[in-house]
C-alpha cells in the first residue's frame, strides 16, 4: 500500500484535510553518499503499516522482492536479483544479520520497532559495512530534543486470529529525551487452502506470538555532546507452517534476543565524531517433537564502531572510521563454540560542487585471518539544470565482498572443503527528476544496474545434511523505475505511486556439458515486478487501492518448472477524528481483495482474501 494517511503531530486536528504523501527519496547529508541510490520509507507510510512486520511493509512499498514462506513465516529480502544473505540489515548502525545464517528474517522485525527505514542500493551499503552485495536496510531512531511529549496506542484485529497491540511514548526536554515502545503481536494464521490432495483444509501449526519492548534514553550537552543508550528485547514463539504436501507438522521455533547499544556523538559546523558500542545476545531454539529433534543455538556479539568526518571547506569533506565485531556462537550442531572476529577500516572523501558532487570510499576488512583486499566505491552525481532542486544524474562503481558465515565455515570444514568468500563488482547509472506541473509534484527515479558476483555460495543437499559450495559467477543486472505523483487541491488530495523493476540474474557457466542452467534466470527471482497504488482523500476520509504484480519465478535452474505470476490487490480506507489535541484514527484494509491463489515459495500456501481493522489513538501534549 503506497499511500499513507498523514498524521501531523503539530496539527490541532481541526478541519484540516487529510494529506496523502509518498516516499522521501532524499536522506540526511550524513547518511547518503553522492552518486548512490538511497530510498527512505516515508514515516507516514510506515505509520500505516505499523502493526505489520518489516517484510510486509517492504514488499508493499519498495522494489524489494520478499521470499515469504507463508503468513508469519520466514521472509527474506532479495535486492536487485541477489540472495537473502546479500542484504545486510543495520539497527542503529550495527549489523543484525545472524552470524550463523548470514541473513535476517524480516518477518521477525515489527514495523513498530522502527522509526526511520532506509534502503541503500548496491554499493551504497559499503559505507555501513561489507556483505551487502545487493544492498542494505538501515533502521534507526533519532530524538528531537524539544519540550514535548507525544505517542500513540493502537490495536489491530484481523482475520485468522490476528491481534496486535502496540504503543509508543516519547518526549522530554532540550537535554533529556526518552523513547519507549512496546508491542504484542499474535495470530493463529489458520487460513484455508487447498492441499496437494485437493482437499480444502486450514493451515495447522502456523501460529505466531511476539512480545517486544524498546527503551531509548538520550542526553545532550553543548559541551559534552550527545549520549544515547538504546535497548531492545524481543521474544517470538512461532510454529513452522508446513508445505501443502505435509499433513502433520509440529515444528516450532523460539527466537529471542536482547540488544543494547550506547553511543557518544559530538559535532560542530566542521567536524563530527561518533563512538558507539553494542552487545547482542540472541537465542534460537528449534524443536520438532515428532522427530525428537531439538536444536539450541545462542550467539553473543560485541560490536564497536568509530566514525569521524571533517569538512575542509564548503566543498570538501573527509570521512573515516573503523568497525570491530566479535561473535561467539554456541550451537547444538557445532562440536565446539565457534568464534569470529572482524576488523574493518575505511576512509573517504566527499566533494560538493555547484553542479557535480562525488564521493569516494575505500574499505578493507579482516575476518579472522582472511583479508578482503581493498574495497573501493566511487559515486558521481551531476545536478540537472532547469529542474527543481533534487534532480540529478548519477553513476557509481564499487567492489564488495561477503565473508563466510559461521554455518558456511562449519559445514564446509565438515565436508573437508575449503570455501571462498563471495566478492562482487557493481556499477549503476541513475536519473532522478523532480517536477512540478499543473499543481502536481512529480518525482521520477530511473536506475540501470549491473552486479557481477564471484564464488556465489549455494547450499546444496547432501548426506547427512546440506553443504555450502562456491558454485559459479552470477551476473545480476536490471532496470528500476519509480514514480510518485502528488496533488492537493483544497479538501481533496490524491497520490499515485508506481514502480517497475526488471531483473536478470543469471549464472554464467555450466557445471558440465549436460547442465542446462547456464545463462538462465536464477530460481525464485522474478524478472518483472510492478506496483501501482492510488489513494484519494477528502477532508478526514481516505480510500486507496494497491496493486502488486510479480512475474513467473522459475523453481528449477533449467526452467523446466515455475510458479505462475500473481497479482495482488489491497483496498484500504480510513477515517480520523480530532479530539482536542489528540487524534483517533480508524483504518480498515482488505488484503488480497480478489482472493487470488498464489505461492511465493513452492508448496507454501498463502492466504486468500482477509481483513484487518485498526484503531489508533495519537496524543500530542505540549507542556
Amino acid at each position: 500500500m503506497l499511500c499513507a494517511l498523514q498524521i501531523n503531530a503539530q496539527d490541532t486536528f481541526d478541519e484540516e484535510p487529510i494529506v496523502l504523501q509518498g516516499i522521501e527519496v532524499q536522506a540526511s547529508r550524513w547518511t547518503r553518499q553522492s552518486g548512490f541510490r538511497q530510498v527512505k520509507v516515508d514515516s507516514l507510510r510506515r505509520s500505516q503499516h505499523v502493526h505489520e512486520n518489516l517484510a510486509q511493509l517492504l514488499e508493499n512499498n519498495t522494489s524489494l522482492f520478499i521470499k515469504s514462506y507463508g503468513l508469519g513465516g520466514l521472509a527474506t529480502p532479495s535486492f536487485r536479483g541477489t540472495g537473502a544473505s546479500h542484504t545486510q540489515v543495520y539497527w542503529e548502525g550495527f549489523n543484525i544479520n545472524s552470524p550463523m545464517l548470514g541473513q535476517v528474517d524480516l518477518s521477525l522485525i515489527p514495523v513498530a520497532a522502527t522509526e526511520h527505514i532506509y534502503l541503500d542500493y548496491g554499493g551504497a551499503s559499503l559505507q555501513h559495512g561489507t556483505g551487502g552485495l545487493g544492498g542494505s536496510i538501515l533502521l534507526d531512531s533519532r530524538p528531537e530534543f524539544t519540550k514535548r511529549w507525544k505517542g500513540y496506542a493502537g490495536i489491530t484485529s484481523g482475520s485468522f486470529g490476528m491481534r496486535n497491540v502496540l504503543g509508543q511514548v516519547t518526549g522530554g526536554d532540550e537535554k533529556w529525551q526518552i523513547n519507549s515502545r512496546f508491542y504484542h503481536r499474535a495470530a493463529s494464521n489458520d487460513f484455508p487452502f487447498m492441499n496437494s490432495d485437493k482437499e480444502w483444509v486450514r493451515t495447522q501449526n502456523a501460529a505466531f506470538r511476539q512480545l517486544g519492548l524498546m527503551q531509548d534514553i538520550y542526553f545532550k550537552s553543548h559541551l559534552l555532546g550527545t549520549f544515547s543508550l538504546k535497548s531492545w528485547i524481543q521474544e517470538t514463539d512461532r510454529n513452522i507452517q508446513p508445505p501443502i504436501t505435509v499433513r502433520i507438522n509440529n515444528e516450532q521455533i523460539e527466537d529471542n534476543f536482547f540488544r543494547i547499544t550506547g553511543a557518544w556523538e559530538k559535532s560542530n559546523h566542521h567536524s563530527m565524531l561518533k563512538l558507539s558500542t553494542a552487545w547482542f545476545r540472541e537465542s534460537l531454539i528449534y524443536e520438532n517433537p515428532a522427530a525428537s529433534v531439538r536444536s539450541d543455538n545462542e550467539v553473543q556479539s560485541f560490536r564497536t564502531k568509530a566514525r569521524g568526518s571533517h569538512r575542509i571547506n564548503d566543498a570538501w569533506m573527509l570521512t573515516g572510521g573503523s568497525d570491530f565485531f566479535s561473535d561467539r556462537a554456541d550451537a547444538s550442531v557445532y562440536n565446539n563454540i565457534m568464534h569470529q572476529q572482524r576488523l574493518s577500516l575505511f576512509s573517504g572523501t566527499e566533494y560538493d560542487g555547484t553542479r557535480i558532487n562525488f564521493s569516494f570510499l575505500i574499505r578493507t576488512e579482516w575476518v579472522d585471518s582472511l583479508f578482503s583486499g581493498p574495497l573501493p566505491s566511487l559515486g558521481i552525481q551531476y545536478k540537472l539544470t532547469g529542474l527543481p532542486e533534487g534532480s540529478w544524474l548519477r553513476t557509481n562503481v564499487s567492489r564488495n565482498f561477503r565473508a563466510l558465515t559461521l554455518n558456511e565455515n562449519f559445514w564446509a570444514a565438515e565436508a573437508g572443503r575449503s570455501l571462498l568468500p563471495e566478492s562482487s563488482w557493481s556499477a549503476e547509472m541513475g536519473l532522478e527528476v523532480r517536477q512540478k506541473m499543473y499543481g502536481m509534484e512529480l518525482h521520477h527515479d530511473v536506475s540501470l544496474f549491473s552486479n557481477w558476483v564471484d564464488n556465489w555460495i549455494l547450499w546444496r543437499p547432501g548426506v547427512p545434511s546440506w553443504r555450502p559450495e562456491n558454485i559459479q559467477q552470477v551476473w545480476a543486472r536490471g532496470f528500476e523505475y519509480a514514480i510518485t505523483l502528488n496533488h492537493q487541491a483544497g479538501a481533496w488530495g490524491f497520490i499515485v505511486q508506481g514502480s517497475y523493476t526488471f531483473t536478470r540474474s543469471t549464472s554464467r557457466y555450466p557445471v558440465h556439458g549436460l547442465d542446462n542452467s547456464a545463462n538462465r534466470q536464477l530460481i525464485f527471482i522474478p524478472e518483472h515486478e510492478a506496483r501501482i497504488d492510488g489513494g484519494i482523500s477528502f477532508r478526514k476520509y481516505s480510500i486507496g487501492l494497491s496493486q502488486a504484480y510479480v512475474s513467473t519465478r522459475y523453481v528449477s535452474s533449467d526452467h523446466n518448472a515455475w510458479l505462475p505470476a500473481y497479482l495482488l490487490t489491497d483496498l484500504w480506507t480510513g477515517r480520523s477524528f480530532a479530539i482536542r489535541k489528540s487524534l483517533v484514527e480508524l483504518r480498515g484494509t482488505i488484503k488480497n481483495l480478489w482472493d487470488f491463489n498464489y505461492q511465493v515459495i513452492p508448496n507454501y500456501a498463502m492466504p486468500g482474501r482477509y481483513a484487518e481493522v485498526s484503531l489508533f489513538y495519537h496524543f500530542n501534549k505540549k507542556p
Partner: protein, 351 residues
C-alpha cells in the same frame, strides 16, 4: 484532475477483477505437464526423483527401454495431484507399487499397470524404505520415528512398530531374517520377522546406508556419512553375521553413495563421487574408477536385473532435471535420459 484520477482508479479496479483464478493455479507448473501420457508400462524402469526438501516437487519418471521414450511426472499427470517430496524409494509387490514419500509422511500406492492411485498409507513420520514380508505384513523404515513401522500391505493400515534407537534405512531379506541398516546406531539390526523383534545387531565403524547380497549370499554394506567422513565397505558372513572383510575408503575417495550387485551376483558397483567396481572376492578396494563423474553429481546407481546394464543418476546441481545415464556392465555409455529433479531410486519393470 481529480476526475482523471478517479478514472484511473476505476480502471485499476476493473483490471484487478480479472485476477481471479483456481486454487491449483497457484501450484508449480512443469513443462512435461503439456505432454500426454497414455498406455501401459512395459519394459523399462521407473525413476523416483526426490525433489527438494520442503519446497520441492518429487516426481516419478518412466523410461521405456524398447522405444527410448521418457515420461516425466507421471503420478501428477495420471492422478491429477502433487506427489509430494522427498520421493525416497519405490517397491513393486505384485501389481502394486509402493512409493515412499519421505517429507510428506506417506506411502502412495499405485497400480503398476497404469500408475493409477490405489490408496495411501498415512500416519508415518519420515518414511524411507518399504519391504513386504508376506500378504499381511510389511516393514517401513523411518528417519525420525525411532522405530520400524509394521504395515498391512493390502489394507494399508499400520499395525505396529518395532522400537529402535533412531534412524533406520535400507533393508534386506535373507529369508531367515530381515537386516536393517541403522545409521542412528552405526549397526545392522537383525530382525526376526516372525516375532517382529530385533534379535541381534552387527556393530560397524560408520553409519550403514546401503545393503546388498551377492551370489554366495554374503552381505555387503556400504557405510559413511558423505564427504570428509570415514567411509567403509563391509562383507558380512551369511552364516553368523560376522564381519568377514572390512575396507576403509582412502581420503581421496570422497563420500560413499549407492551400492549395486551385478545380475550374476559376482561383481559390486558402488559410488564414491565416481563409479567403482570390484569382484566379490577381491581383497582391496579398486584404485581407479570405472566411470568418471566428469563434473556431474552421481547420486545413486542401479542394475537392470534382466539386461545387466548399469544405470547411474546424475543430480547435476540438485536444482534442475537430472539425468539417468545407462552403461554396459563394462562401463561403456549406452544412452542418457533426462528425468526429474534429483533422481535417486530405480525400479525396473521386466514383464
Amino acid at each position: 484532475m481529480t476526475r482523471r484520477f478517479l478514472h484511473i482508479a476505476f480502471l485499476g479496479l476493473a483490471l484487478s477483477i480479472c485476477a481471479c483464478n483456481e486454487p491449483e493455479d497457484a501450484w508449480v507448473r512443469h513443462n512435461e505437464l503439456t505432454e500426454e501420457v497414455h498406455g501401459e508400462f512395459q519394459s523399462g524402469l521407473w525413476v523416483a526423483n526426490e525433489g527438494n526438501f520442503g519446497w520441492g516437487y518429487g516426481t516419478v519418471s518412466w523410461i521405456d527401454l524398447e522405444t527410448g521414450q521418457i515420461r516425466n511426472n507421471i503420478f501428477r499427470q495420471i492422478n491429477g495431484r502433487i506427489l509430494g517430496n522427498v520421493v525416497q524409494s519405490m517397491y513393486r509387490w505384485h501389481d502394486r507399487i509402493y512409493i515412499v514419500v519421505n517429507n510428506s509422511q506417506k506411502i502412495e500406492v499405485v497400480d503398476a499397470r497404469d500408475f493409477s492411485s490405489i490408496g495411501r498409507i498415512d500416519g508415518l513420520i519420515s518414511p524411507r524404505y518399504f519391504l513386504p514380508i508376506h500378504q499381511e505384513k510389511a516393514y517401513v523404515t523411518d528417519l525420525y520415528a525411532r522405530g520400524i513401522s509394521i504395515m498391512n500391505p493390502i489394507t494399508l493400515q499400520k499395525t505396529g512398530i518395532i522400537q529402535t534407537s533412531g534412524w533406520t534405512e535400507k533393508m534386506l531379506n535373507t529369508e531367515s531374517h530381515i537386516l536393517v541398516c541403522h545409521p542412528g546406531g552405526n549397526e545392522i539390526l537383525v530382525l526376526d520377522p516372525e516375532q517382529d523383534k530385533v534379535t541381534a545387531n552387527i556393530a560397524l565403524a560408520a553409519p550403514p546406508m546401503h545393503i546388498e547380497k551377492d551370489r554366495d549370499n554374503y552381505i555387503w554394506v556400504l557405510c559413511g556419512r558423505g564427504e570428509g567422513q570415514r567411509n567403509f565397505l563391509y562383507r558380512i558372513s551369511p552364516n553368523d553375521y560376522s564381519i568377514d572383510r572390512a575396507f576403509e575408503f582412502p581420503r581421496e575417495m570422497q563420500g560413499a553413495g549407492g551400492l549395486a550387485i551385478s545380475k550374476d551376483g559376482s561383481r559390486l558397483y558402488f559410488l564414491s563421487k565416481h563409479v567403482y567396481t570390484m569382484m566379490i572376492d577381491e581383497i582391496s578396494l579398486p584404485e581407479t574408477p570405472l566411470i568418471q563423474a566428469e563434473g556431474g553429481l552421481f547420486y545413486n546407481l542401479g542394475i537392470d536385473p534382466v539386461q545387466s546394464d548399469l544405470y547411474v543418476a546424475d543430480a547435476l546441481d540438485y536444482l534442475q532435471n537430472g539425468w539417468v545415464n545407462r552403461y554396459t556392465p563394462e562401463g561403456m555409455k549406452v544412452d542418457a535420459y533426462r528425468v526429474g529433479v534429483i533422481p535417486g531410486y530405480f525400479l525396473f519393470n521386466n514383464p
